[in-house]
Symmetry: C2
Subunit: 301 residues, 2 copies
Amino acid sequence: MNVVALSGGVGGARLLYGLERALPPGELTAIVNTGDDFIHLGLRICPDLDTVMYTLADLGDVERGWGLANESFAAMEMIKRYGGADWFSLGDRDLGTHLLRLEALLAGESLTAITARLCRALSVSATILPMSDGVCPTKIQTESDGTLPFQEWFVRARATPRVKKVRCAKGTATRQVTAALECADLVIISPSNPYVSIDPILSLPGVRARISGKRVVAVSPIVGGAAIKGPLGSMIESLAGVAPSPTAIAHHYGSILRGMVLESGDRCEGLPTLATRTVMRDRNDSVRLGREVLSFAQELS
Amino acid sequence: MNVVALSGGVGGARLLYGLERALPPGELTAIVNTGDDFIHLGLRICPDLDTVMYTLADLGDVERGWGLANESFAAMEMIKRYGGADWFSLGDRDLGTHLLRLEALLAGESLTAITARLCRALSVSATILPMSDGVCPTKIQTESDGTLPFQEWFVRARATPRVKKVRCAKGTATRQVTAALECADLVIISPSNPYVSIDPILSLPGVRARISGKRVVAVSPIVGGAAIKGPLGSMIESLAGVAPSPTAIAHHYGSILRGMVLESGDRCEGLPTLATRTVMRDRNDSVRLGREVLSFAQELS
């Protein structure tokens, strides 16, 4: 069975961890948002891609949700001492990843190929695919601060400027992404932010067309009327003009969705649902939820 | 008084430390070899420039002679884990320097301007000038391994392949370098390797012409018939066909030299000499030697 999951960072990575361990090796392909990527200190930063890679390699910092466990920040301290930009934190071990990526990009290797090579070295059995090998920067049109590059809004401005519009870049999905979608038996949309983590993938030409008609299941990132983490709650209010709910998520994804997994006690109108514990606090939660999502998706007509 | 010192890395940096502290602030300009520079992991590595900067900022690792004190190597450990190139060690704090340099170079800033900015942030009072803003890679023609880029020979091959010839690149000195040489009252040649640290500076067009006729004093890197550190001893034997001695050093520099500072007990034919303790074990040694070198040079006719 070929399972493809679309994912952003933290919450998405946690579900991917569960899906990977619930499936035989090699059956999971993760298509990861690169709309958050940017160049910082000369490095190509891929926050979602690295969060997914570190999480699947079991090297991630579980509590923080991003970056590596047992991380140190000596390089950042030195950058601070020089008066350099310190608003985006890069750990020392994490810099190892970034330097190998820099070296490979300069040598002309694609982001897809580099990611595959790094994943192999870390013994990740799932296939992790960046959605694009090109540059597809998501921009945030705010009410108070003009249009900001994603990380300037999300990290530097702590996602406080109210969002008027999210602008996904016009990019190109890789051939590995389109091939994976064509072969997919199930498509899982991770509990990531639909606007800034999943839409950048769905808006690439050919992606929606390739998954429509397939068994597509989303896991709701809204639990009990609020986002588990991040600015999604207020974004739904601003952008959709409704209260945050699984129904709002289902409405956002529209006709591609065939089922929704949501928190026990929550409801979603107009779709088959699986109600369970969706908040993943540890690896056991992830594996249990991964199994439940797969069973639910397979049973859908 | 304007004092200009030509320098490579470790030994040169130690003398610069003493010269800087022996002079009023602002009187010392160090012109530093960049023939050892190379691109590694996508970063511009400037071994001599950084050794000089860290040493003058009193942040250097005194025992190792290069890199920063209290350094950690978490990024390198991660690179090793990925199977990346680990033959050239870069510390985590040191990576802070490299990332700011990478960012600035990509933004079009010159190496001279970047170095000045980093030095200011570290409160270095001397002016540290890279010999060139361009790329001037020194190549080592070996007897056994063909022609190697400098660091491939020096670090990766541990300077063991016997040297047939050192090829300094044809580069261009910066206007800051030529201006400093024109205004120099004294020129000190640090106890660095003449072939690979000083010749790359002297061979830039216009450099020799600008120092000839000035009071130029060298500190011998040969003590008791051997190099204090590194492959200089065997290089003199291979390249000059003589035993290592201060006389061989004086002969190498030729007519530009007006005096030589050497270790008590050593001799140098044909030049005024100052015999003293030239081996610098700690900062006090550097400051004492710096004072002695300056007095000796000033007293030369």
